[in-house]
Symmetry: D2
């Protein structure tokens, strides 16, 4: 197939490599011309504008959008909507909020454009070598783009999930689970690290990656991480987050579902952004008030 | 009554003042002679040794032990056991683990000595001006010492709780609740502090202390704390703990009772003892491994 | 003063009694005519419509709105806005979301009407006998209505909190703390209830209400509850919630503040709405899959 | 090698099959003669007593003990200690508490017997086809039994972890992580199940098992479980636990490590054992007390 890719960041760039590897023709574009030039060396066609990108495609045109979630997606989609025609197709492969995807799907459908919200998992290596895709959108039209996902994904690694929004929703929940799993792994190693025993973290991650109940890709990545920095001395435990964990908790609140582990995993990330807390100050002050317990003074 | 008090720290000292105020005769002793000298100025008799203290009392002797929980209590009780006689009475007013109190009660009972585990709440001001007491031990003998608690406590502020251990058990759970309440208050003020509004923390604590659902002593103490340091700039949010919260969680685990709030309040205290965490490092490293997300480097 | 009260439910009704008791004239209205008739017996003037209510007041008119949060408030405010004039004043004493209050304040301000968002705490008894009020809105105009709050509140029980929204925001956080405190108290009594000791829950709540660190109104209410039903055998542990706890958590997520206790207290309420959980089924199924552990079959 | 296996339950039985498959001679014994008879059909030698089992082995004898954790292990070890000689070796492959393993290692060492605590993961299928082993004990002697683990484990699936106790400690923490991962997966599917979308749980677990960040054995088992019962209608969400999760939390408390996710995962298991809670009753009663909120009555 011939496909357009807008957004050549870590994920988009690797997806293009994957598509080229699988024999597809890819027209690429990014606000930064550099990755497009590199990909042109590898067989992609680097369009200088979205209009040129669209012009290079044949009907029904398929454009994959892989840009940061939020208003940037709306900007790109608005531009595309004015260039594309009835029957053309847009895939949003980023981490958009599912409510945005429902809204965008409705807007584009009214113009006859098929919109797919494709949650993408597997990291950069998955993007390049075979990832996992959860795709919501028009079921009839999905058949046209299914071959792309068949090629991009590992075996059994893509799923048509239902109407618009269902793909990003599933990706959102996937990330919620991911938060919980990562926090659980982190806590386990923290116990080991503080224990009276002297474990080799990398060796532990390796043995747990082979045959144990908790084996999986995250444990393999843990092994990788420890192989580079045995005690993670070089990095701080600041846990950033990029939205889906928060959205999962917000969704759980709206559904009145108790998701304590996912919620706490998120809150511990927020906690990690600070070196001290106001609630801690209040508790310390209270202990001092009623029991005369010593407080730790600020330097 | 005439009563002995061993241990003249923050709590014991104030209890002696309270007892004297209520017309009791108090023979005091502490490893540090200073507080005994002070109390002697105020009407107590300062014994130079436990033996002298015991010698000053009349049968049935009543000795209140107010020393740090743990082996120190065992040391004092062993010493007393060799000096006291059948029918004499020991009150452990400290924060002993209830299982220790059950064991100690059994040991002393075998020698004919009545043992009472008296959980004491209300802080230093309560000790001096009227506190809250939860007393386990021999029900028959309790009548003898009940007048003491009637005088030391505020109205309705003491309770005979049942057999040995039940007093300290109740105090333990009291403190578990206290952990949860304090953390809840702390979190609320943290939200306020980070909000877009510009609240006066002291004024907030004051209004919440008057007529609100969450009014109570802890809120009044919060007001006090903010009155001295409006944003708690002078102290760190390091939340120490002295045992009962941990014991409550351990007990909950043994009873298979879900106590998420008490457990989390304790774990957040542990979290506050560190400026960085190993679990955070693992999570940050994993995010970098799969998604190429930037980590914060150690300085 | 002369004041209008729209909404004569549990809270509004009791506030009217309180206002009458303090010598104010109150014009009342509710979609249900019954409570208005009752209050007319006690000295209020029962208006048959909002228009009549407004007509009975004198400029600057003061109308207190005490109706369920959400679109009903908007409906009432829209109606009032068309009836009131520049300089008149509306107090929303309900549990509105603070963002709604900001929006409403702006809308009414554009018409010259002063809007106050008054968070109200203290329950029905507080409404009647002296409650706690946190009031956001136009500072200049607050002086006009301040005497009302002085009369309705217990001493030091009202606070002008800043611009529109700040009153309801403070009430929201108050309720978040309340969730945490209540859950902590509940968990403590659950430990007691499952312990090897045989505590009298009412007596425990009473002694904790007198002199302890955790004394306060919630503990007194706990005593009341146990006095009526010593083991709460008559009720189920279904913990409903009415919004503010959820909003506090949502706000904490938006502020990236770790509020584990408040969040968990909310999630445990959601958990209590179900007798079984899907996550439990998944975990049970997994244990069976890897370890052959028995599952509990549905009946 | 020739090896004895005491305990032929789900795990022991499958380990024997694995050993036989790998060409080892196995002398087996269990209090229940049935599995021994079965294994005898497959090439094992079924000893009628522990003494006969020991008699069938050659020095240095190697006996693997695979019996339920707790006093049963002590009973078996005591029996073996009286039958074995200096230089013989015992492997405890069960889920013993690491402190017991330290104690047992010391006791047996004083008799010249080498003791190994081997944490075993991978479930029944791992036991039979290749599992994961974490082995603590005497490093010198480990070389003698290492070939066993090389054969029983998948590649890179065993690790010598250090002195006595370190193997079971690592397995304990492994299970703590497992609790957190399982709860996270369960919560994610609960959100899906309650969402507005109509997901096929099995298909979701399958796509997440292929190429996603959260892929791993637990997700594959989730797929298996849903393939048998698409909505888990046949089972209840009662989450039993067998000790290691609790021990991990207890250890975290002793180390003062904040492990909120592991702790909460455990507490949610306890919560699942009940259809109603006492804390819920207290909270519901309190809401009724202060706000007149309706309670749900017991039937």
């Amino acid at each position: 197939m011939k496909i357009g890719m807008i957004g050549l960041g870590k994920m988009g760039y690797n997806l293009v490599l994957n598509l080229l590897e699988n024999g597809h023709q890819v027209v690429v574009n990014d606000v930064n011309p550099e990755p497009g030039r590199e990909l042109a060396q590898k067989g992609a066609f680097a369009a200088e504008s979205v209009a040129e990108l669209v012009g290079q495609l044949e009907k029904p045109r398929v454009v994959w959008v892989m840009v940061p979630a939020g208003p940037i997606v709306d900007g790109v989609l608005d531009g595309l909507a004015s260039l594309l025609e009835e029957g053309d197709m847009i895939i949003d492969g980023g981490n958009s909020h599912y409510k945005d995807s429902i809204r965008r799907g409705e807007g584009l459908r009214s113009k006859g454009i098929h919109f797919f919200d494709a949650g993408t998992s597997g990291g950069m290596s998955g993007a390049q070598n075979g990832g996992c895709f959860m795709i919501g959108g028009d079921k009839e039209a999905f058949g046209t783009i299914e071959p792309l996902f068949k090629d991009l994904a590992v075996e059994n690694g893509y799923l048509y999930t239902g109407p618009s929004g269902s793909g990003h929703y599933l990706k959102m929940v996937h990330n919620g689970i991911e938060y919980g799993m990562m926090q659980a792994i982190g806590e386990g190693f923290e116990v080991l690290e503080k224990s009276a025993f002297d474990y080799d973290h990398e060796a532990v991650a390796r043995v747990w990656s082979n045959g144990s109940v908790i084996r999986g890709w995250l444990m393999e990545l843990t092994e990788n991480a420890f192989s580079k920095d045995p005690n993670l001395d070089e990095i701080k435990g600041v846990m950033q987050s990029s939205g889906e964990g928060k959205w999962t908790v917000q969704e759980a609140l709206d559904l009145e579902v108790g998701t304590p582990i996912i919620a706490l995993s998120l809150l511990m990330r927020y906690r990690s952004l600070e070196t001290d807390t106001f609630h801690g100050k209040v508790v310390a002050a209270l202990r001092n008030e009623f029991g005369g317990h010593a407080v730790v003074k600020e330097d």
